[in-house]
């Protein structure tokens, strides 16, 4: 079963994304901010990271930059899931190494389709 790391400071969002992914047959790991995600990745490996942008402690862009420095995460898909839709922010994400950008509110079916598309 493919494992996805969900990074979001809102418990409800993690619940909703987690619920959608579990329905789609994915295993789910949750983290409440970027640093928490990095800590979790020390003890577990994942196939994909789905992260929010604005979070306390460590935001999504910084998280992606850090993840891309980890050899195991270099080629893994990382998707941003955020309310932010500005082109400049998207460019920042792309430059940091994000694989894609999904604007909230997400469509559960589309989210699953996107995951299937980016996962090798």
């Amino acid at each position: 079963m493919r494992k996805v790391l969900i990074v979001d400071d809102a418990v409800s969002m993690r619940q909703m994304v987690g619920f959608t992914l579990r329905q789609g047959g994915y295993d789910v790991v949750e983290a409440e901010h970027g640093q928490d995600a990095l800590n979790k990745l020390q003890s577990t490996t994942v196939d994909l990271v789905l992260t929010d942008l604005n979070m306390p402690v460590m935001d999504g862009i910084t998280l992606i930059q850090n993840l891309r420095r980890i050899p195991a995460m270099k080629s893994k898909p990382i998707l941003m899931l955020t309310t932010e839709g500005l082109a400049a922010k998207k460019e920042q994400g792309k430059a940091a190494g994000a694989t894609g950008w999904i604007v909230k509110p997400f469509d559960p079916e589309k989210l699953l389709q996107t995951l299937a598309k980016v996962l090798p």
Partner: protein, 340 residues
Amino acid sequence: MNKSVQSQASGVESSFSPSMASGVSGLGSDVESELAQYLPHFSRMSEQLKQTSSQIENSVIDVCNSFQGIAQRARETVDRTKGFLGRDGEGSSDKRTFEGLIENCSGTLVKILKVTEEAGEMSRRAVERIREMDKASESINAAVQQLERIAVGNKILALNARIEAARAGRYGAGFAVVAMEVISQTDKSQKVNALVSGLIKNLRSLAGSTLDDLNRMNVEDQQRVEQCKHEVDESLRDMQGAHGEMKKMLTGMTDEGALLANDIGAAVRGLQFQDRTNQRIAHVIEDLGVLSTRLKTRFGEPADGDAASYEGFSSFTMREERAVAGIEEAESGAGEVELF
């Protein structure tokens, strides 16, 4: 997705403009002192907004957890149904499937009918044999009758021999004894003939009644087999019909399960209003903080007794709040409950 939520969400940036605070410095002293009275309420308002935000989030989490349970059960039902339908569609070799059971049942009933038909066939063969035996008995009877005619002829012949022996006198005496003996033997032979004839008669009568019984049994068996065949065919048709209905119902349940999953998906999408609402509330809290800080800078920390009555902030009724929000009531008092 709710369009109003979308349009609200597009304005998630802070609505507070620094010029609003800087404009305060130009107000008259009465207005300034009025504003200063409300300063202590900012933190309370912020706290209330945080609580509201937290309550909304907790409610959404609860709903999400419920969805998790509903979806799990729906998925299990769909999986079980699909499993059953899948097995059922693989053919009847699997005895656990309904189709397999019908097939087995049908096979068993066909075997029973075949055995019954075989029994009927044997009975028919027995009838044929008894008929043949009856014909043989008839032939024996004819032969016995022939023997009887021969015996009668022999008796007449012996009688004539006696007459001729009497005419011959002393020389015919021995011949008369032989003739008497022939008559005696013929009598015995006729007795045996009569006995055999009686036995044949009894045998034929027995064979006749056995034939009648067997024929009647055959006809009844034939009717019973036909009746059974008809009933079995009807039962199998009913079972197949019921199975078809059940299959249709289960397929419908699978489709319903898929629709339920879609509905839950749509509900999850709808529930995300909470994320944007919380962000918006967070911005409002942030603005209140900025405003509070600026007013404190402008007017200084207010003394405890300076606070204006808080009731001024909470005197709105639900009806007034709905009116402010532009929500019209369909019916006066609708949805309200009063218990005594």
